[in-house]
């Protein structure tokens, strides 16, 4: 779960990290009030979970509350890199003496958190040359200690009181990381301004699988309404821009199905992993959702392991008998309880292929026919 900048800053602030004075709003009048209460020049920042907001016009400065309102009117409701902006954050404009980057991520290779810092703040860390980056693996269960903050700060070339403040912020960022079950947390840039150190931008991505133990954290849902609906059923679903709906069991199998489909000239409309031993009801519901996206054809690719072929057959039959299939449905069905499943399908007028190869070719051909939705 990715948190908006203003939410990430709220949390960091609770952990004692200094953030700019400011507040978020979804209404231009409110923006004007906030800008007036801050006084002086302000910055208006579109709250959207996209990278490179600045270049895309999502960060603008205003020298008066009226100008801030005007900017917000332009931003609110508009799309930034394809994402609708629903809130803006209005903050004091910072004087910038120096910008640094500090972030904590997980080094999956080492299975440990890693602290990353750089004197080149403001840039995406991927674009900073490796020699300008300070990395420190954090050894669990020992964790990050205060002295490590000082060591990192020293390597960034910061010392004296500012060095002490940055070291302290590094420790607090680590607390954010561990206590919020973060996948990633970043301050970029961390701005040094007249001896003060302030988190000018903030990122906090929380592990979805750990949300159950964080009732205190806000919830941000990302995805189309259909994606969110399928997600709430406990299944994995991703919308794509093609016209063939895909259901498979297992994430790897679903991805491979998309790949093969594309290889044969098909364009997948989505990715649905109905694996993990889902029973008839949710499978039928998921197929119903696939239909609701109005594809030209549906490909069902099942290699039954925990997933039982007869359950898949029953789910398909249930959909056929309730909402019906207005588009061709191509089925590949092998594995656990294969015979029973195939036989059930036959009884209800479905045919099933034995190989991915055949099924994929067939669905591409079927989708090539006239669109039944028009």
């Amino acid at each position: 779960m990715k948190l908006y900048e203003y939410l990430a800053k709220d949390i960091m602030s609770k952990f004692g990290i200094p953030v700019p004075r400011g507040s978020a709003a979804d209404d231009p009048a409110e923006v004007e009030r906030i800008a007036a209460s801050i006084g002086g020049e302000v910055v208006v920042k579109a709250q959207a979970l996209v990278g490179g907001r600045g270049k895309a016009g999502g960060i603008k400065f205003a020298s008066s509350p009226a100008e801030a309102r005007e900017i917000a009117e332009g931003m609110l409701g508009s799309e930034l890199k394809g994402v609708k902006v629903e809130k803006v954050l209005i903050e004091e404009k910072l004087k910038i003496d120096k910008e640094v980057y500090v972030g904590i991520a997980v080094d999956t290779r080492k299975a440990r958190p890693v602290l990353i810092a750089s004197g080149s703040g403001g840039m995406e860390i991927e674009e900073v040359p490796e020699k300008e980056i300070v990395r420190r693996l954090i050894e669990p269960p020992w964790g990050l200690e205060a002295f490590m903050g000082r060591e990192i700060t020293r390597r960034l070339g910061l010392n004296g009181p500012v060095g002490g403040k940055v070291a302290d912020i590094i420790m607090k960022l680590y607390h954010v990381f561990t206590r919020c079950d973060a996948e990633l947390t970043e301050i970029n840039p961390l701005v040094i301004s007249d001896g003060n150190v302030v988190a000018a931008d903030a990122r906090l991505n929380v592990d979805d699988d750990a949300l159950y133990r964080h009732p205190e954290l806000p919830r941000v849902e990302e995805g189309t309404p259909t994606e969110l609906r399928v997600k709430s059923m406990g299944l994995s679903y991703v919308e794509l821009d093609g016209d063939i709906a895909v259901m498979a069991n297992g994430a790897g199998m679903a991805m491979a199905t998309l790949d093969v489909l594309q290889r044969y000239g098909g364009r997948p409309a989505n990715f649905l992993d109905a694996g993990g031993g889902a029973s008839v009801e949710p499978m039928a519901e998921a197929i119903g959702i696939l239909l609701s996206t109005k594809p030209k054809a549906i490909l069902v690719n099942i290699f039954g392991g925990i997933t039982r072929c007869d359950d898949v057959a029953r789910a398909l039959i249930k959909v056929k008998e309730t909402v019906g299939f207005p588009v061709p449905v191509v089925i590949r069905l092998v594995g656990t309880n294969e015979e029973e499943g195939v036989s059930l399908l036959r009884q209800h007028g479905f045919e099933a292929y034995r190989t991915m190869d055949e099924a994929t070719r067939a669905v591409v051909e079927a989708a090539g026919r006239a669109n039944p939705w028009q």
Binding site: E126, S236, G252, M255, A256, G304
Partner: protein, 296 residues
Amino acid sequence: MAIIVDEKTKVVVQGITGNQGSFHARQMLAYGSRVVAGVSPGKGGQELDGIPVYDTVEEAVERRGANASVIFVPARFAKDAALEAISAGVSVVVIITERIPLHDAIYIMAYAREKGVTVIGPNTFGIISPGKCKIGIMPHQIYAPGPVGIAARSGTLSYEVAAALTGAGFGQSTVVGLGGDRVVGQRFVDVLKKFEQDPETKGVVLVGEIGGSAEEEAAEYVKGMTKPVVAYLAGKAAPPGKRMGHAGAIIERGRGTFESKVKALEGAGVRVASVPWEVASLVKEVLGQTIESEQR
């Protein structure tokens, strides 16, 4: 021979009184795995098809000599179960549970390193050395004993590949499910090292996917290997920024792309299949070469 698990492996099933645990305990037993005990805190004293149930893994180790554990407990209790198994002295812990918090997985792996225990998973279908020992949830009829080692990040896709290999007459030494999460106990490179050492294994198949850097690391290691390696990678059609079912299967901030993985693997001499079923014919090609070179 085989890697990690074999006919000497004695399995304790953690969470044996749950639906998944009891079903798969029976399946493993039916396959011939030596399932010697189950654990379910508070339910010690029960039995499941003759398998004694204990309150702690410690008892399963003390009384039944268990040396491997498989975990079916719900995600929020999985960390404790894994630490328990690691502490109790088993040498292999297979974590089937999915959706274990990332920080819990990191902690489990740190404890496993400290104690020198091999962790498979989390979010894995398990591990099987066909004909010797199955620990996991895979449909075992698709496997056959033989010379090919398989390491896979995804379950069903590896079934597809294993079935194709078995169908083409290539049995498997051991099939390892690494798990679909970002942080897992065994990565390709760890398993490759073991396959390289295993006399029974003549060649290795990697079933990879987008996200992370496990395939790139593997490629580095393959350069120094004596055994041939074939790979299939899923996710060529996946768009960046979308998590494709597995926590680990996401192209994020430009890293872990399909192209970088194929490039790295091919650069290391790995034959990369363009469709899953092509793996069998590539294995035939490379194992043929191996056998020829051995005969010279």
